[in-house]
Symmetry: C2
Subunit: 138 residues, 2 copies
């Protein structure tokens, strides 16, 4: 049978997404209260399903090749307030409550902390918490 | 010579980005005033350089295989207020002034107009202007 869905058990709302050939979709996380953009990561079908079921962001780590429950080490979970889909059905937007106020592994609120100024990337956002204090030193 | 840059003339701030194997990077556009996320599209080195030089968003259209000066048909240009880079250096964030208040080709402010409700994607944002009035009917 041609064009069989990759996962016939996935619900329609998941299958209606235009997944990449690798079965992924980019997901943007936005602070639901302030509107700040926190990060962008990737999801596969399972991580998106779990995100909706558990009410907290679950990504797919491309580098580690496994599910990544955001905050599993740091405690900085992202509680889901809304899940949006764009017009091309190939990008997800999560509106979240960011636990601890820190989304970035560098200890900053947002991962987008570098601004282009005079043809250089300049850090313009403060480190809220030392990463060693978040993740430990080993 | 191994590991030669793809474009040795590109400035350092462009080469420091982790481009995909296809030479692309995802770019999120955010309304600089309201904080709303307008869209996500892709850029290649040239489109990012032109975005910085011209002060308005220039994307790379993967479907058409060419530069896409946002607003060239609709007039809905995105004037650049800030260009940000994330911690992994593989996602760009543009803070923009959205001309006409419409980023989406459906005539809506934002492309992320569908919300997941009871396992269905539901349109929750109004159409501001009929797409036929924006692009013409032919």
């Amino acid at each position: 049978m041609k064009n069989a869905p990759v996962n016939p058990d996935a619900p329609d709302w998941i299958e209606s997404i235009q997944w990449t050939a690798d079965g992924l979709v980019p997901a943007i996380a936005q602070d639901a209260a302030s509107g700040e953009i926190l990060m962008m990561a990737w999801m596969n079908r399972e991580s998106l399903r779990l995100t909706a079921e558990e009410g907290r962001a679950v990504y797919w780590s491309r580098s580690r090749g496994k599910l990544w429950r955001k905050g599993e080490t740091s405690g900085h979970q992202q509680i889901i307030k809304d899940i949006r889909l764009d017009c091309d059905e190939d990008v997800i937007l999560l509106k979240v409550e960011q636990k601890g106020g820190i989304a970035c592994h560098t200890g900053r609120h947002s991962c987008f902390y570098r601004s282009l100024q005079d043809q250089q990337w300049v850090s313009v956002e403060p480190v809220i918490k030392d990463p060693e204090a978040i993740y430990g030193s080993n």
